[in-house]
Every structure is written in C-alpha cells, then in structure tokens.
C-alpha cells in the first residue's frame, strides 16, 4: 500500500465496468469481514461506491473528512521522515472503529466495523481488496471514455439555468418589518 511516486491526476474517469467490478470487491470485503460499511472514495474526498449499510452515515461528509485526515497524516509522515506515508490509519471508538488506507495515490478505502471484529482480519482483507481494486483501475485507465460528448456549450447553458433555479430570490428570506 505504499504511495505511488507519480503525481495525482487532475482528471479521472471511471467506467461503468470498473465501477461495477470495484463494487463487487467491496461487497466481498464487507461479507468476509462482517464490516458495517466499506467506502471507496477518491483522494479529494469524493465518494465513489460503497458496500454495507450506511444507514444514518453521511457518506459525502465521511469521505471528505477521510480524505482530509489521510492527507494530514501523510504530511505528518513526511515531517518525521517516513517518505512512503503510513500504511493505514486506525481509529478506535467505544463501539465502532474505522480503518483507512490508500489505493495508489488517487484513491482511499475506508472500512467501518464493530469492536467485535478483529483488526487483523480487516487488515488482511483490506490488503486483498486494495490489490484487486488497483488491478481494476489499471485496466480501466486504458479504456477511458470520452467526455466531450456531453461537456459542451449546451451543457454549460443548461447548468447555468439549473443554477439560477436552485437559489432563493435575493432578499426572499428577509422578514418585513412591522
């Protein structure tokens, strides 16, 4: 799980096929470990796919915080001379724990699991999942789909209209003074 030496990509596209394959890896990981939740997100905190029962867990916020947390510890590793970064982060709670590790340079895998599940087992299955996902991503990069088809002037015009319709009219929240 060492960090890749290459710089992070500024654009990344994930095909439907790769998405489905990664989702299957997460399902297997969740079933094998009896974890509550396994989330695959990009290193900027965008959740991509998950397995398990998020129930009341806000995956968007969890992923953003995971990414910030991971990036902060990578800088801590650098400060103490650990150039490859830490292999994983383990957050231990009263009832639930979080295991967090990177998948190459651009992605993260986090697992939420109960205290009754052994950390050792999570580590073994997480390592296996990281290898599988890395293989899927490598293959997917060779089959990039084209985005020009929809990211055009019309898209921007429609986005502008949707934007305008999404906000309250100016001062609509202002109460009238009596």
């Amino acid at each position: 799980m060492a960090l890749a030496k290459n710089a992070p990509k500024s654009q990344f596209m994930l095909s439907t096929e790769a998405f489905n394959e990664i989702s299957d890896v997460l399902k297997e990981l969740e079933a094998s470990t009896r974890a509550e939740l396994a989330v695959f997100c990009d290193a900027n905190g965008v959740p991509i796919t998950h397995a398990g029962k998020p129930r009341a867990i806000d995956l968007t916020s969890l992923s953003a915080l995971n990414a910030g947390n991971y990036a902060a510890t990578r800088e801590m590793a650098r400060l103490i001379g650990e150039s490859q970064g830490f292999k994983f982060l383990f957050l231990e709670g009263e009832n639930k724990n979080i295991y967090l590790c990177n998948v190459g340079y651009d992605f993260l895998l986090s697992i939420v699991f109960a205290k009754t599940v052994a950390l050792g087992m999570i580590r073994i299955y997480a390592n296996k999942a990281v290898k599988q996902i890395s293989g899927i991503l490598e293959k997917a990069q060779k089959q990039e789909q084209m985005a020009e088809e929809f990211l055009d002037v019309e898209f921007n015009t429609l986005l502008g209209k949707a934007f305008d319709a999404s906000f309250r009219k100016p001062n609509s929240s202002t109460k009238t003074e009596s």
Partner: protein, 194 residues
Amino acid sequence: MFINWAQKEINLKIVYYGPGLSGKTTNLEYIYQQIDPSLRGELVTLKTREERTLYFDFLQLEFGRIKGMHPKFNLYTIPGQVYYAQSRRIILRGVDGIVFVADSQRDRMIENLDSLLDLEENLINEGKSLESVPWVLQYNKRDLPHISTVEELDRKLNFLRVPTIEAVAVRGTGVIETLKRIIQHVMAHVQEVM
C-alpha cells in the same frame, strides 16, 4: 475533476482561498442557507474553540440532471491564518477552480498579497499555477469604511485580469454571483482542456 460513469456524476472541486477573516466561511454559510436544501449536503466545519476555521469547511452542491449527468460541486475553504500553511497545501490538491476572497479594507492589503503569493506557491507545488487554474477574485467587505477602491484592488491583486465581484458576504451580496462566475469559468476551462 472526477467522472463516475456508472453513477453519471461529474465531481468538481472549488476552493475558497484568502487571508484570515476575509469571509470565506461566510460565503459557504450563505450558499448553504440560500440553496434549495434538496440540492446540498451537510456543511462540514472544522473550527477552533474561537470559531476560526482549523482545517477546512466543506459543502457539496448538486444541480440536478443535465444531459444525463449529475454535476456536483465540492466547495472547500482553507484556514487563512499564516500558521496553517500545511492544511492549505493539502486542501488545494485536485482543485478545479479557486475563489480568492480578498478583504477590501486598506490595512489588509498586505495580508491579501501574502495570501495570493502563498496560493501561487502552493499551486506550483501541485504542478499548477495561477495562470493554469481558473480563478475569480471576490472583493469582500465593500460596506466597511476605509476600504481600497476597486481600481486599487485591481491594480494590486488582479494582475492576471481574472473576473472580479464586489461583495458583502455577511449580507449575501455578491456571494451567489461569485459562485456562478467560478462555476462558469471552471466549466469553460474543462471544455478547453478536454
């Protein structure tokens, strides 16, 4: 930018940058209040006991389905204080667009310039620059006394002639317009580089 074809999602990252107390978090709070609640996520804030941004604020916005895709904008603020340099570097990673929130008060010009130089330095560390990343300048706090004129701010901060917006973020003036400008700018840039 991250495109998830299976979920038909386009994710873009916009960072609000600027000196401490220039109004970055206020921008996000106003957007959070004004947008249709069904189109936004939670406003995540990591603050110190003194209510200053410690690490970042985060807010995700969606604008429905457009040409079969769901564009999502992930808005982040950075902690403005000088000593949080490391946090700013981390948050800039993977940025697609920047709103630089400048404080219009005359005695804050040096802080604005320092923050802009800090931004340029951090972008260079990411293999980018102020010339390669879409950004807009928000001149905030236009309601306060002792402020620089727009011409002065332009001369000192807007050397790359990027779009500028005058704002009073605490009242919401210029906040939504700023967001719209940066989104337009980012989308135009995405088309250019594709």
